[in-house]
Symmetry: C2
């Protein structure tokens, strides 16, 4: 990402201020501009990722409960957001998740991103960074629904924050017939995108519920009735727009066959898979995802952590092999 001439002055101001520790008035003097401009440039520098301010997430992994969940569920790392003893409890999980995400990203990475309110909330609070050679790929097809959290928006917003290249999926998430979905999957452009998913270094997604509140229902991919029927047939959660059963396997149903989305095996091929779960009612979907080995890194709040641990201790837990 080449620096445009207009960025030069921003960069220079940021350098003098943050790297050399000069005060704004000294920087202003140095560059022969007003201090107000310096303040403006510095804000710009932070907003473009020229300057990076990050806070360690150690505190949230450095916890016996996190360790126990890691052991019980065979995860690489777990972060637990404390219960809302502060101003904005709802923001805690997304803020933590975005920090964790930024810690996991490396230069040159290829990152798979799914969608949903949680994913968008993370993107929304994510700090700007100027990572070189990062590509953000959309893990599933699109939806026309006018929601900010739809697949292409999630991908684009995260790409924008990281100053990365966004690779959108130019296909609908769900089609009306299985045949059409199959044909579309065989289209070179789509096939290529699907094939590229397993090459990702990092993935970010949440796991959706299978009720009327589900994002796939809200966005019109499924009717409430259809979802109810699927639930009776064993649907337990939603991953990248697809329905999984309680073992974390793809549910054998028409809907899934009509979906254009990441193959679960491709997802599991991604070495670091960050799953973030926020809402209370996502306990069962999360268990399904964990059973399917869809997560390696997990961010949850304290209440959910408690339930996970109790569940594991009750002996009810067994991961699918």
């Amino acid at each position: 990402m080449a620096i445009r001439p207009a960025d030069q002055i921003v960069h220079k101001a940021a350098w003098l201020y943050y790297a050399h520790g000069l005060r704004q008035d000294q920087v202003a003097q140095q560059l022969n501009i007003s201090r107000a401009s310096v303040a403006m440039y510095l804000r710009k520098a932070r907003e473009t990722g020229i300057v990076n301010i990050s806070t360690s997430t150690q505190l949230f992994t450095d916890d016996v409960m996190a360790r126990e969940i890691e052991d019980a569920y065979g995860l690489d790392a777990v972060w637990i957001a404390p219960h809302g003893d502060h101003v904005d409890p709802a923001a805690e999980v997304p803020v933590l998740a975005s920090s964790v995400f930024l810690e996991l990203v490396k230069k040159g990475d290829r990152i798979g991103v799914a969608w949903g309110q949680t994913v968008y909330a993370i993107a929304d609070v994510m700090a700007y960074a100027d990572l070189q050679d990062v590509t953000v790929v959309q893990l599933c097809g699109n939806l026309g629904a006018p929601f900010a959290y739809r697949p292409d928006q999630c991908t684009m917003e995260i790409a924008r924050r990281l100053n990365a290249k966004g690779l959108n999926f130019y296909a609908p998430l769900v089609l009306s017939t299985e045949g059409l979905a199959k044909q579309l999957r065989d289209e070179p452009v789509i096939r290529e995108q699907l094939a590229g998913i397993s090459d990702c270094d990092l993935a970010l997604y949440s796991i959706g519920t299978v009720d009327g509140e589900s994002h796939v229902v809200k966005c019109g991919a499924l009717t409430v009735e259809a979802m109810d029927a699927l639930r009776r047939d064993g649907a337990a959660g939603v991953v990248a727009g697809q329905i999984i059963d309680s073992k974390g396997a793809l549910l054998d149903c028409s809907y899934n066959r009509r979906c254009i989305s990441a193959d679960l095996a491709s997802l599991r091929a991604i070495p670091r898979r960050l799953v973030v779960v926020q809402e209370e009612n996502k306990f069962d979907p999360l268990l399904a995802g964990l059973a399917g080995g869809l997560a390696t890194h997990l961010v949850v709040n304290h209440a959910m952590a408690r339930r996970l641990l109790d569940h594991a201790r009750s002996g009810a837990w067994r991961k699918a092999s």
Copy 2:
């Protein structure tokens, strides 16, 4: 690195302030402490690396001259510090070098560090970071001289800044006889340390001059006369306390044989080798180091960059294979 209970509050304050964007008074209210304490905790958070503020060094690599030097000398990356058009020109190279260094370090790295005024200056301006599982190893033996920039100090200071483990070398840099040096090198403790050098992921050093101003002379490892004699025998630079010739090979001399330091082949085995050169009179030593393939990454100031480029263009340059 486990978080001590006293750090909890620091971490929490930093989290609310930097991750959530609350103001200091809001954080104070949240934690039931005074705003003055919050300010203090935040400073502590920055000083411990719980909070990381870094500035992109893009501006200094994003330059035609840097590209040309990379091509001419076969380096992976070059950074050029602008000439001192600001308050503290002498600080420019160390500040830049420390930022570059921090960009190159990754979690879990093993880092080799040599010594000298330049290296110490870099350590001195380096931001604090809280890197997990990082080890900083000393590349050569010690000197008793009362200088801040002696080998153990350089290693320790950098380890302290990174919150890493420092592995010091418990042997003198130079001994009075070759036999003793050989015997000492065969001591298990020393042998192990020397063997561990090639396992490093990153190295940081400068290249010293071979005159009376050389740090090896100032620290008493060599007399001015001895150094003069070595120069007549082809000494061109100093790397990790050892004398190299103009081709970047170890000079065949008694002094080198009496040294306990990193084998040049071990240094070259380190994948990323950051060389930082600051002083004007280090041009020839730098050329020697480059000829010996001792650098992969280079930080110099504008004047030095100019000279390097002119030298390469004059056709005088040829790297040893």
